[in-house]
Amino acid sequence: MIKLAHVYKNFGKTEVLKDINLEVREGEKLVIIGTSGSGKSTTVRCMNFLEEPTSGQVYVNGTLLTHKNKTEVVRSSSAMVFQSFNLYPHMDVLHNLTLAPMRLHRIPKKEAIDTAFHFLETVGLTDKAYAYPSTLSGGQQQRVAIARALCSKAKIILFDEPTSALDPEMVQEVLDVIVRLSEENITMVVVTHEMGFAREIADRIVFMDNGRIIEEGTAQHFFESPEEDRTRAFLSKII
């Protein structure tokens, strides 16, 4: 579904990603874990070309992403949920959810609104359809953002630290929504610091450090018998 081949990324002189090779299969829930600055956000941002690799290839559904085709490919295949929600503050919730479907996917207004309400129900926020983002709590905003991603009907959803900007008491409501989604046949790539959550949803966990993939395997392998010293050091610090 997504394939990164020999991806390098530099920001100025800093090498953020060094030879990342990673394949995400259809329907797979892949969780990326790592210290801050390890390149995990950049990795997932390369998957929809929000960051274009300095060198290396990114394939989505077999198509090589380029600067030219990225908008088209990304539009039809993936959606993203951000750490800071990034809802459009000048539109109410419903408008946030219907903008892309109507403008980009040419879906009739009525259908777009029906879809929006359907996914608002999924995240438990039908009563907030006409509220503006600024009147919602962080947790509610993030659930709206997830509903917005779902409205695109994309087969891939990328989560870039979806709970890192939330107050502790709101983390769980967002995680619950994502856990529920993970039961469906959506391909999910999740960058997170929530270990319990990672263990619960991950088909596979990738551990990154200093711009490289250090270890990958099932959740059980990762948490119970990691092979690499750096993984063990990381786990001992956070668990």
Partner: protein
């Protein structure tokens, strides 16, 4: 002599010429209106371009902005009025006023627009791009609507500057309010006092509501939760 500056007969003289003052005032209004239209168009386009990713477009706008911001408006007006005729280009005073004041203010408005766009969090661009919006769509649907609200107060201030700057026409006998107030007094009985006073009052009447509105709107923006329905 001090007592002579505002003696009643001078006011009477001015009152009898009120229609001429009104006409000059209308000329100033006309120049300001069309110059503002021009400045807004140029400023909006240049501002968006200067926030774009194209280095060439940004460079072109930079040259325009720096040129007009760092030379006096007077030189620009004199150049068009005195120098351009030698290139076969002869313009009337009012069009010169519209053109020069419009271009001059456009440079400032361009900067206002650019700063406004740059003040929008980068996450908004990320969200739009991740949904598959093109750059133009992102600007039109997501970034600019948010920008407009934030830049209205500085835009109103630029509008005030523009109105006052139309008085540059006095230097080329432009028939505007400033020019007329001066010419009327010089050609009559030197009633400069009442003439300038009324002239200033008329500019004030145009500008004060704008500055006042800009200030109260800014307060309101600050008070309302960011991103609400201000």
């Amino acid at each position: 002599m001090i007592g002579q500056i505002f003696t009643p007969w001078r006011w009477a003289e001015l009152l009898s010429s009120w229609q001429d003052f009104a006409f000059a005032f209308l000329t100033t209004l006309q120049v300001a209106f069309f110059a503002l239209l021009l400045a807004l168009c140029i400023g909006a386009i240049a501002g968006v371009l200067s926030a774009s990713r194209s280095r060439i477009l940004r460079a072109i706008v930079r040259v325009y902005v720096e040129f007009f911001q760092n030379t006096p408006l007077a030189i620009q007006v004199f150049f068009v009025y005195y120098a351009l005729p030698y290139a076969g280009i002869v313009l009337y005073e009012v069009p010169i006023g519209i053109l020069c004041v419009g271009l001059y203010t456009g440079a400032y408005i361009s900067e206002v627009v650019r700063t406004g766009i740059n003040s929008i969090p980068k996450g908004q661009f990320d969200a739009a791009e991740s949904q598959g919006f093109s750059y133009v769509q992102t600007m039109a649907l997501i970034i600019l609507p948010q920008t407009v609200k934030a830049i209205l107060p500085p835009l109103a201030n630029q509008c005030v500057n523009l109105i006052k700057n139309t008085s540059i026409l006095a230097m080329i006998a432009g028939g505007d309010l400033m020019y007329f107030s001066n010419a009327w007094a010089t050609n009559g009985h030197f009633s400069y006092g009442p003439s300038y006073l009324i002239c200033g009052l008329l500019y004030f009447i145009l500008c004060f509501p704008l500055t006042h509105w800009a200030r109260s709107y800014e307060e309101k923006l600050k008070a309302s939760v960011q991103g609400g329905k201000a």
